[in-house]
Amino acid sequence: MKRYFRYLWYLIVILLTLDLCVRAESSLRWGAPFWGPYSFEGMMVDDGLGGRNRPFARFEKWVINGQGFQGPELRIPKPEGVVRIGVAGASEIFGLYESPGCDLTSQVRKKLERSAPGRFEVVNLATPGMSIPRIIELYERLIRKFEFDAIVYYPSPAMYLDGQAPAFRKPISRRTVNDTGSTPYAWDLRLPRKTWEMLRERLPVRLQVEMKRYQIARKRRNHPENWVWERHTPPERVRLFHDHLLELINTFQEDATRVMIATHANRFRNVSTDMNDPYMVGWIRFYPRASGWSLLDMEEKANLIIRELAGNFPVTVVDVEKEVGKNLDHYADFVHFTDSGATLAAKAVTESILSLYPYTHSN
């Protein structure tokens, strides 16, 4: 018995050592607090209406400023002669896989600074999972006061194939809305997350795909067969995307904020992508009600809607889909960019901005 207690003690020592090493590496590499809570999830806060970035949060390469954005803090009122640009969207814009400083918004900032030094301020308004209703709500409550000249919005059409479609949420009372994001978050063990990241890098791809397929099957288990949109994109969801986008355009334009909407890019060439593609399986895992067919069809319809709205409203289309294309080197997974993909997307955005705000040296 004594021997087993000893072995248990050794196991605890091993795990404690591993956890201390994880903490030491994050401290040295990213300036993370050694003892305090530190996690990706800790960068988000639910303010009663949905998730947004927690002010002053940081995790690895991501640094959220005191105003809840990535990038420099903005002065109020806006300085004279400065063009203020916000780039909004979900995880594609938040920047998951790019190297530090190589996400789309940072690259737009650098390109604009090179072309027109001191003229532009660019901030990243994105939060992972941010939907159109959510950005509208945040704009009305928090973002409007910064007087953006233009907002570039990169929509994520796949959200409209989720179990529940994106919707506006109303607070039960004003008190449930927490603007400061100061809710303390639980202390996290760091070893489990790090272990999962390590396994993801080392486990064979086939095994990872099987695990994801299993998760998809579990989520679909308690639903009837026709719950899944195999060869069918529900028209009411497509309509909803259109209506939400229209509301976004109207909301921004109330303040004379220019609206720039980007077409959404993904890595798949083929509409009939099957469940053997590891990236498609990874995508469906987030939207178990969808199939590869319906996801790509939704993307196509969404991009068509964006182009149509630009024809009928004073909206600039940024054709990121065309610029990034289908070169697999530009995608880290199904829709998120690598450094090279973000570079191309940033090129498209920068060119559109400069076409709206041309710069000469006399400006």
């Binding site: 000893r6 020592v13 091993i14 404690l16 050592t17 591993l18 994880v22």
Partner: protein, 463 residues
């Protein structure tokens, strides 16, 4: 190398030992380990394995050629056998000189594909078998020869085993009884490699040398040779620990390769503690053959210098390695001459003892060996520039002063603690030792699996 293939190999072996006790018996065990080793080597480097099979066949044909019953196989004289076994080594070492750049496909160096891993070690092992079986009249079975040739723990980088030194553990061996001591040895080896050697390479050697030797400050030039010495020791000794531990787990004792070499009092002592199996091989099978029986001091000195220069070239056909070998050859000759003079003159002997003492002689030996590493690691011109620039150190600012002083203080502390370390460890209670080893295991697991650094190969796999 020593990746998942070796781990799976060990697990398969231990499982078979547990469930099929018959495998433990004599030749069965040898054949089982030969087959297992061939499978592991096939995963490491299939084309290189074919060349090793060919070399083993040459060795076998040479051995059976001496037997009276010649059989259907052609007999190869011993001298021809040795030449044939040396040929792949000489060709592979001289390829970069003959064909520059070396052939490649899509940037992949083809020589890494068919030049066998550990070719230098295989050549010496097989030549050793030919010479020992002749000189000592030791019978050699094919299974024994094959095991010596293919045994995967020692295949890539030694220790260089011989017919006598590769011993089966006695009847008391069971794989379960060896699990903890072998595991401790393997863990120590991995720790030396990933925690010490790789850290030095990643954070000191590579970043400092990236700028070029000409850009280094004098304090860096002073410290770098010491860093080279510690890096190669921890890397190679770490590998040897792993090889010895794995061999023990599989029921075989292989000879030690290192015995605290930087505690040596003179260069002769150093070469009895550093890469022990190679230095023994060179001394017994090369130097003594060149010098002959009852050699005089002159002949012995010439034999020493020739042997050590060949030892340098064994590592690679380069001026740096050659110079390193010559450096050590000259040092050995000097030590030998002083020793001989000391035997004849008690006054000289006392004077040496008074002026240097134990610490002094260890210090001088360490300095001499450390300078030698400069030639081993750097091209000759860069090495000369490094030494010259290092001699310009005059202190400088705080960092430039503290770094070399700190390194010297650290080494002195290790020297003082060195002799006590092992005794202290053995006196610690088992739970304390176990706790320390558990912590070390946690560090090693982190360094191997979790860290995002560049994975470094063992340095001696390139020889």
């Amino acid at each position: 190398m020593f990746g998942w293939e070796a781990v799976v190999g060990c697990i398969v072996a231990l499982t078979c030992f547990a469930f099929f006790p018959r495998i433990h018996l004599g030749e069965w065990k040898e054949w089982f380990l030969v087959v297992l080793s061939v499978v592991v080597l096939a995963f490491w480097q299939p084309a290189g394995l074919l060349i090793t099979v060919g070399m083993t066949a040459v060795a076998w044909l040479t051995i059976i050629g001496r037997e009276k019953e010649k059989g259907p196989f052609p007999c190869i004289p011993t001298s021809v056998g040795i030449i044939l076994l040396l040929a792949p080594l000489v060709i592979s070492k001289s390829l970069p000189w003959l064909i520059s750049p070396t052939p490649s496909v899509s940037g992949y160096d083809l020589t890494r594909w068919f030049v066998p891993l550990g070719l230098s070690f295989t050549s010496f092992r097989l030549i050793g078998v030919l010479l020992d079986s002749t000189a000592l009249k030791i019978p050699v079975s094919f299974s024994r020869l094959a095991l010596l040739s293919f045994f995967f723990p020692t295949f890539p980088s030694g220790p260089i085993t011989t017919l006598q030194s590769l011993k089966e553990l006695g009847n008391e061996y069971t794989w379960s009884s060896e699990l903890l001591p072998a595991g401790e040895r393997i863990l120590a080896g991995i720790a030396r490699k990933v925690l010490l050697a790789d850290t030095l390479k990643e954070f000191v050697i590579d970043p400092w040398l990236a700028q070029g030797v000409g850009q280094l400050e004098p304090f860096q030039c002073l410290v770098l040779p010491v860093v080279f010495g510690m890096y190669i020791y921890w890397d190679f000794a770490g590998y040897s620990d792993m090889a010895i531990g794995i061999a023990r787990l599989l029921g075989y004792r292989v000879p030690e390769n290192f015995n605290r070499p930087y505690m040596s009092r003179n260069l002769i002592d150093f070469w009895r503690r550093w890469h022990i199996t190679l230095s023994e091989w060179i001394r017994v099978r090369l130097m003594m053959k060149i010098a002959g029986r009852r050699a005089g001091i002159v002949k012995l000195s010439i034999a020493t210098i020739i042997s050590m220069s060949l030892c340098g070239l064994w590592h690679g056909f380069g001026w740096g390695y050659f110079l390193w070998g010559i450096w050590h050859g000259i040092g050995l000759v000097a030590v030998h001459l002083v020793g001989e003079a000391g035997k004849r003159s008690e006054r000289l002997r006392n004077a040496i003892r008074r002026t240097t003492g134990a610490f002094g002689s260890t210090f001088l030996t360490f300095i001499y060996v450390t300078i030698g590493w400069v030639w081993f690691f750097l091209p000759v011109r860069d090495g000369a520039a490094l030494i010259q620039r290092g001699m310009q150190w005059r202190g400088g600012d705080t960092v430039e002063f503290l770094v070399p002083v700190g390194v010297a203080a650290g080494l002195t502390a290790i020297y003082i603690a060195g002799n006590q370390g092992k005794h202290l460890w053995e006196r610690l209670p088992l739970p304390v030792r176990g706790t320390f080893l558990a912590g070390l295991l946690g560090l090693v697991v982190y360094a191997v699996l979790y860290r995002h650094g560049v994975k470094q190969e063992f340095i001696y796999t390139q020889f």
